[in-house]
């Protein structure tokens, strides 16, 4: 079954059933492996991508629901987002497996809330688990990218 998706600004046709989660289409069909599988039930945020600019969990997004929706993955940031620069500046990642999802949540936050408070960061980022516990640096890097002075 063919479906056409809008991924990182390009129309892409894939052969997959409409109930197939976007996550597996990205990873297995399109080779966009920056988006990670972590739990499959929208609990960990490792699979976070943007749908029309909003952070969503791609493991719970069947491709049949995404016609006409602009999807952006970590690859779509092209390594040029200030959040990515802040991640490198502060050496945020440890194992790194969750970081694509963290960055996609953080960039969606800053797009809507350019100067987030700690409460804004908690609200936007608490759906993304980091088992290495890099939370402190994630918070600091979001503030660094936003030009907000760290508390």
């Amino acid at each position: 079954m063919a479906a056409t998706l809008d991924i990182n600004g390009k129309p892409v046709t894939v052969q997959a059933a409409p109930e197939t989660p976007l996550l597996w289409v990205l990873r297995d069909e399109l080779g966009l492996t920056g988006t990670k599988y972590g739990c499959g039930i929208a609990q960990c945020g490792a699979c976070t991508v943007h749908a029309n600019g909003t952070a969503i969990r791609s493991c719970q997004a069947p491709i049949g629901s995404l016609a006409g929706v602009k999807i952006t993955t970590i690859e779509g940031l092209e390594g040029r987002h200030p959040v990515q620069a802040a991640w490198v500046k502060l050496d945020v990642p440890q194992c790194g497996y969750c970081q694509s999802g963290q960055i996609m949540s953080a960039t969606a936050l800053l797009a809507k809330t350019p100067k987030p408070s700690d409460g804004d960061i908690d609200a936007a980022m608490s759906g993304n688990i980091c088992r290495c516990g890099a939370y402190q640096r994630i918070r600091a890097a979001i503030k660094d990218a936003a030009g907000v002075v760290a508390a």
Binding site: G34, W87, P93, C95, G96, Y97, R131, Q136
Partner: protein
């Protein structure tokens, strides 16, 4: 301290394994007098490693690449290992690269452990002399090459940032000199720098090399491997540990588009498919009947009750299940008539739950035996693979990738998930790549947990208020049981931290014993191993003893450290107190804890408040003595992350079983720490020129008792079981 991993040094393949190895080697006599590393590297392709040896490559364009024998799974050791070489080589740090070594037990053995592997917070410790010598020897080769070319004395030549220079004004890059340097005989015992001359080690210039790849989604994990013609596999496992396949019906599974095959393997029923989603659907469509004859059918409550009965003496020990003494002295002396403090603690099973669920890629057959995986102990993975496919362990090729966390899970004697993948790939045959993918549910219900543990402690205080008699009983499964190197005495991984405690050293009479009952539930080391429970027991008990004695818990510790000669504890405690300042943040109460593990002493002062009975942790001041800190920033990162890992388990972590079936299948039920619950950790490093010790694990075990001690100060009530927040 890192007893279980140190035990790898004693790794000898068992008789059965030896038969396989010997048969494959076509002559057991070959093996006489060989070291384990020799045996395990038989069949290895001991390819030429280049003029600078197996740890360093310098290309014609001058690019310097340090080869890491240790896996990078978050702990940051790639950067610090590279810094050891770069410092002595005087390479340009900013341009230096790190590559991951393949599997070779002889060349890349962990010098603390004998086999190739990463664990016991030993990557930096065991490499410190080895890699500095690599850098220094190579530097000498470049200096000699330059001296020959310029006809000057070698001792007039300097090297900085990859440029070799002479006061006459002549200079050359590594690229200019590498062809000549490669021909110089490396010095046998190169002179190492005086640490005072370090320009890289100990500075915040030692930064991670993988942050950019990990911030752009380009870092390659096993989950990301796609090879031509690759199959993706999932396995239906018994819902009960020790269960076996009785029968299965694959009809529905085989009808799923994309499913290729369904077959039985030792650990369950495997489904191979064209992609992950099809494999998942196929696996879910399987109907399997399980034989629970030898399975664990008890619930965790029943197991814990059995532990209590052992500790209380209600269940007597037997010839097979004995109490084993450790660290005891003065036994037989009567406890005296002082105040008695009696307390018992329960700790649940814990899942490691790294972000990347277990997975492995294997290519078996057609002249190939290869794993691509986040291999934590490649030597064991080689051994287990060799046994399954009938090949020499050293001939099994392993490409080790970044792993999405491990926390101990990827290092086990059975190589459980890797072996499972090898069985599937062997069935598929022809060297066709198979990627085994475990779902989160597979990972969380798959066992290899931190054991459930019970401690019963009775301390009689002397007239001075300090412990005069300490009775300690520990009930736990043994991590080391069934390993190729079972412990002769008590399994140290179950008692370390009680064993070796300065408080016991300072106590005149100690009667400490452990009993290690068995179960089909597989258990494993979990970041900081024994300290995950022993640090809690010792540190929380000390605060209760201080209260019983009417003394300040910090003064109480200082007196005991002084008596025990625990100078590093004293220094770290003072540093933490100095940095913490006088008062906690408004509304918060402080708790203190200290623990030595993996050669490092960590002291934490945690500021805690109770929010509807739930502990909220704010500022955590951490002091660590880890010897020479190669990357202070990464030491801090490990204290931050280790604290979160320990706090996550302390607040929420527990795996429970009902009738042998694990209750928690995913992060909805196995709650872990999130952004809004994370503390702010400040790290202060005790200045030291000593040999570096561990940092990956020592940051984990201290936070739970620090929080419990704060709660004790707030409520007057001790914490007798974890997690703090029951589901």
């Amino acid at each position: 301290m890192n007893a279980p991993f140190k035990a790898l040094a004693k790794l000898r393949p068992s008789r059965r394994e030896m038969i396989v190895v010997s048969a494959a080697a076509a002559g057991g006599a070959l093996l006489v007098g060989c070291s384990p590393a020799d045996i395990l590297s038989i069949g290895a392709d001991n390819k030429h490693f280049g003029p600078f040896g197996p740890f360093l490559r310098i290309d014609a364009d001058g690019t310097v690449t340090v080869v890491s024998k240790h896996i990078e799974f978050g702990q940051g050791s790639h950067a610090s290992l590279a810094a050891m070489v770069a410092e002595e080589l005087d390479a340009d740090w900013d341009k230096l690269k790190v590559a991951q070594a393949g599997a070779n037990a002889k060349v890349y053995a962990n010098l603390d452990q004998g086999a190739q592997g990463t664990g016991g917070s030993s990557a930096i410790h065991n490499s410190w002399d080895q890699l500095r010598k690599v850098g220094a020897a190579t530097r000498a080769m470049f200096v000699t090459a330059a001296a020959d070319r310029w006809k000057v004395h070698a001792n007039e030549i300097s090297v900085a940032n990859g440029v070799v220079a002479h006061p006459s004004g002549q200079s050359a890059t590594f690229a200019d000199l590498v062809a000549n340097a490669a021909k110089v005989k490396p010095p046998g015992s190169p002179k190492l720098k005086d640490p005072k001359a370090y320009t890289l080690i100990g500075t915040n210039r030692v930064r991670r090399k993988d942050s950019l790849a990990k911030a752009t989604g380009t870092a390659r994990f096993t989950q990301d491997v796609h090879l031509p013609n690759m199959l993706t596999a999932m396995v239906a496992h018994s819902p009960r540990f020790g269960g076996k396949v009785k029968s299965f019906d694959a009809d529905a599974a085989k009808k799923i588009p994309g499913v290729v095959d369904v077959f039985k393997i030792p650990s369950g029923v495997a489904v191979t498919a064209q992609n992950t989603f099809a494999a998942r659907q196929g696996r879910d469509a399987l109907k399997v009947e399980w034989d629970d004859d030898k399975a664990e059918t008890r619930g965790s409550d029943a197991i814990l009750a059995a532990y209590h009965d052992l500790a209380s003496g209600k269940t007597a020990a037997t010839d097979k299940l004995k109490w084993q003494p450790f660290d005891s002295h003065g036994v037989g002396v009567a406890p005296g008539a002082g105040k008695v403090v009696e307390v018992a603690y329960d700790f649940p099973f814990l899942a490691h739950a790294p972000m990347e669920p277990m997975n492995c890629v294997a290519e078996i057959g057609g002249g190939k035996n290869k794993l691509t995986s986040g291999s934590q102990i490649p030597t064991l993975d080689q051994l287990n693979t060799g046994m399954i496919v009938g090949a020499l362990p050293g001939s099994v090729e392993i490409e080790t990738l970044f792993a999405g966390g491990s926390f101990g899970r990827r290092a086990n004697f059975q190589s459980d998930y890797a072996a499972e993948c090898v069985h599937i790939a062997k069935h598929v045959g022809g060297g066709r790549p198979v990627k085994l993918v475990w779902t989160r549910e597979d990972d969380m219900t798959g066992g290899y947990y931190r054991p459930m543990v019970h401690h019963a402690v009775r301390v009689t205080l002397g007239a001075d208020g300090y412990p005069a008699h300490w009775r300690h009983r520990i009930v736990s499964q043994s991590v080391m049981k069934g390993s190729p190197m079972p412990s002769k005495g008590v399994d140290e991984s179950a008692v370390e931290g009680v064993s070796g405690s300065p408080y016991l050293k300072a106590t005149p009479v100690v009667d400490a014993q452990a009993i290690l009952p068995d179960s089909p539930i597989p258990v494993l080391w979990w970041r900081s191993v024994g300290a995950t429970h022993t640090a809690f027991v010792m540190e929380h008990t000390i605060d209760q003893l201080a209260r019983a004695a009417g003394k300040d818990p910090i003064d109480y510790r200082r007196a005991l450290y002084t008596k025990a000669g625990a100078d590093r504890h004293l220094v770290a405690l003072s540093l933490a107190l100095e940095k913490a300042g006088l008062n906690p943040a408004p509304g918060y109460t402080r708790g203190v804890a200290a623990h030595e593990s993996f050669g490092s002493v960590v002291v934490q002062i945690a500021e805690v408040k109770l929010d509807g009975g739930v502990p909220k942790v704010g500022r955590v001041v951490t002091a660590i003595d880890c010897g020479t800190a190669i990357s202070p920033d990464q030491v801090a990162a490990q204290m931050e992350g280790g604290t979160c890992f320990g706090l996550s388990a302390a607040l929420f972590g527990q795996i429970t079983l009902k009738d042998g079936v694990v209750d928690q299948k995913n992060f909805d039920a196995y709650r872990v720490l999130r952004m809004n619950e994370a503390p702010h950790v400040e790290t202060y490093i005790v200045p030291s020129g000593a040999h570096p010790s561990g940092v990956g694990e020592p940051g984990t075990p201290v936070i739970a008792p620090a929080v419990a001690n704060a709660i004790l100060a707030i409520t007057g009530k001790p914490t007798t079981s974890l997690p703090f927040v029951k589901a």
